[in-house]
């Protein structure tokens, strides 16, 4: 990057950078920035869909004890602290992806190599968020697995045979949060790769 330092023509500074066709010269043809922004948008999409699915997972069933008397039993995500944490962590990931996506796009528009400087900070922040989202995935997955299979040693009976729709919502949400953590992993790998390439060249 240091070898072809851009000298921007005087009229470029007054132009408003709006379209990707007006990217500074140093980023033209490199797939790193585009992949970075695309992954961040994908992270936003998966995180928000996971949150929505888990929040909409409430299921009510009428259990009839004896004929003519039925009590409604509810299954919702607030009944387990693991699911509450999962929703909180995914919401944070959602917000984070918007903020960093916008920052990344702004840094790309500005000529002068500030995007690679931003990647240093993104490595650390992405790794931290990856830990948080991975813990949320693991926690929700662990509790959902017990709900699915039950546990004979601790006498915890399974829940998913009674509340099938609740369990399938949870399964979808957990799969999506796994996809979010893989996306974050790819983001950090991309940042590390871009930074090492920059060092090799400059």
């Amino acid at each position: 990057m240091a070898s072809h330092d851009t000298t921007t023509p005087p009229h470029a500074t007054i132009e408003k950078p709006l379209k990707s066709s007006q990217l500074p010269q140093q980023y033209k043809g490199s797939w790193g920035p585009a992949l970075d922004v695309a992954l961040r948008m994908f992270l936003f999409a998966t995180a928000i869909v996971a949150v929505i699915i888990m929040a909409a997972s409430k299921q009510t069933k009428l259990i009839s004890l004896f004929p003519g008397f039925a009590i409604p039993l509810e299954a919702k995500f607030t009944q387990s602290p693991a699911f509450i944490y999962a929703i909180a962590a995914l919401s944070v990931a959602c917000l984070y992806s918007i903020i960093t996506g916008v920052l990344s796009v702004f840094a790309l528009m500005k000529p002068g190599g500030s995007w690679t400087k931003l990647q240093f900070h993104f490595v650390i922040l992405d790794a931290l968020l990856l830990g948080i989202v991975a813990a949320a995935t693991g926690g929700a997955g662990g509790v959902a697995y017990i709900g699915l299979k039950g546990n004979s040693h601790t006498n915890w009976n399974k829940v998913c045979d009674k509340f099938g729709s609740f369990c399938s919502h949870l399964a979808g949400s957990i799969v999506l949060s796994l996809v979010s953590s893989i996306t974050l992993l790819l983001l950090v790998w991309l940042s590390v790769y871009v930074l090492s390439k920059k060092l090799a060249r400059g």
Partner: protein
């Protein structure tokens, strides 16, 4: 003479910085190795047998039944032990690789960094799973009629908590390795 001395001081400082960064990475990997090893062992030997007295028939005296809690009873604990074992083995292999290449080989350093991140993901997910299952064991869950277990098996639950904290420390060490690599790249 003065500028010569200053140049020599700068050289020594740079070489010190290079070797000290190498040392820090070695220390972190050694720390990660020991932490994950102890966490795996602590949870792997976790077993507790207590007697529970049950009153089957009101007229007869209560029957004492021995009940055992092992770490293999819950799949989340098994997952934590496996992940800690993987992290420990990886720490050993990466330590050997680091000593062999002395931080000179760029490709090896890059691959080690990417695998460090994989270890962070695995360890954090295992901690999340064990933490949430342990929380159910500690508090119970009244909504789904899951009773708490830790009032009976207190020593078992304490060992699980210790293993979780040790794994958390191990995963923080791996995060610090990534931070160290980022800072090294920034300073170059």
């Amino acid at each position: 003479m003065d500028t010569e001395y200053k140049e020599k001081e700068k050289e020594v400082n740079v070489s010190n910085r290079n070797s000290s960064f190498n040392c820090k990475e070695l220390v972190f990997r050694l720390l990660a190795l020991s932490l994950t090893l102890v966490a795996a062992v602590v949870l792997g030997v976790d077993k507790q047998t207590t007697t529970v007295s049950l009153t089957l028939v009101p007229s007869l005296p209560p029957v004492d039944l021995p009940v055992t809690a092992k770490w293999t009873d819950l799949s989340a604990f098994v997952y934590l032990v496996i992940v800690n074992a993987i992290a420990c083995a990886y720490a050993a292999i990466s330590l050997v690789l680091l000593l062999v290449t002395r931080g000179g080989n760029k490709l090896v350093s890059l691959i080690l960094l990417m695998l460090d991140l994989m270890m962070v993901v695995l360890l954090f997910s295992a901690i999340g799973a064990t933490g949430s299952v342990g929380l159910i064991g500690y508090q119970g869950n009244s909504h789904v009629q899951w009773e708490k277990v830790c009032n009976v098996f207190d020593k078992f639950c304490h060992q699980v908590a210790i293993a979780v904290f040790l794994s958390f420390a191990g995963s923080i060490t791996y995060l610090l390795l990534i931070l160290l690599a980022a800072v090294t790249l920034h300073n170059k």
